[in-house]
């Protein structure tokens, strides 16, 4: 199974999915840590994947979404954004709505 199919399956089988560096308990990058904090603040239950554990996924996810950085948040199989967009959506209350609709 190609990495694109693997990603597609992961993204579609988790209501909320975060591709990050490290794990929610031990984020390995400031932006990834920020993304985890925001999701926790929204009370979101989410799946996560440590791209540092798999270089193919680390590269493949950037092609999948045409987005060059990590973290990447997906809700209901759709790419929502990276740390910046998550922060902005959280500040204007939009992310909380998206999370409660998905959870």
């Amino acid at each position: 199974m190609s990495v694109q199919n693997q990603i597609d399956e992961q993204v579609k089988s988790n209501k909320i999915m975060l591709y990050m560096k490290g794990t929610p308990q031990f984020p390995q990058c400031g932006f990834s840590g920020q993304a985890v904090q925001i999701l926790k603040a929204c009370g979101a239950e989410f799946g996560s994947f440590d791209v540092l554990s798999d270089p193919d996924v680390r590269q493949g996810i950037k092609e999948y979404s045409n987005w060059p950085t990590i973290p990447q948040l997906y809700i209901d199989g759709k790419f929502v954004g990276g740390a910046d967009i998550m922060t902005e959506l959280y500040q204007n209350g939009e992310l909380q709505k998206m999370v409660s609709a998905a959870n």
Binding site: W67, P68, T69, G81, D84
Partner: protein
């Protein structure tokens, strides 16, 4: 890689854009105003900026946080 360099790359690569970039050499924050952002989602707007930076700016892309605004949004924010 300094704020000036990133500002020039964005403005050259994204026609009609105005960028203000600050940074400490490791992390950079940019506010980009462009009328081509109108009607586009935040994801699309940021992708336009990433395309303007091009792939030889990988390091900059990783260190950059950005806010994208249309001229109207920028004015509203100023008032």
């Amino acid at each position: 890689m300094d704020p000036e360099n990133i500002k020039r790359m964005i403005e050259q690569g994204l026609e009609g854009s105005q960028a203000s970039v600050v940074g400490d050499g490791r992390h950079f924050e940019a506010v980009i105003v462009c009328d081509a952002f109108a009607g586009k989602s935040m994801v699309e707007q940021h992708q336009m900026v990433y395309r303007a930076l091009g792939n030889n700016m990988d390091e900059a892309i990783h260190a950059l946080s950005m806010r994208t605004l249309t001229p109207e949004q920028y004015e509203q924010q100023q008032s």
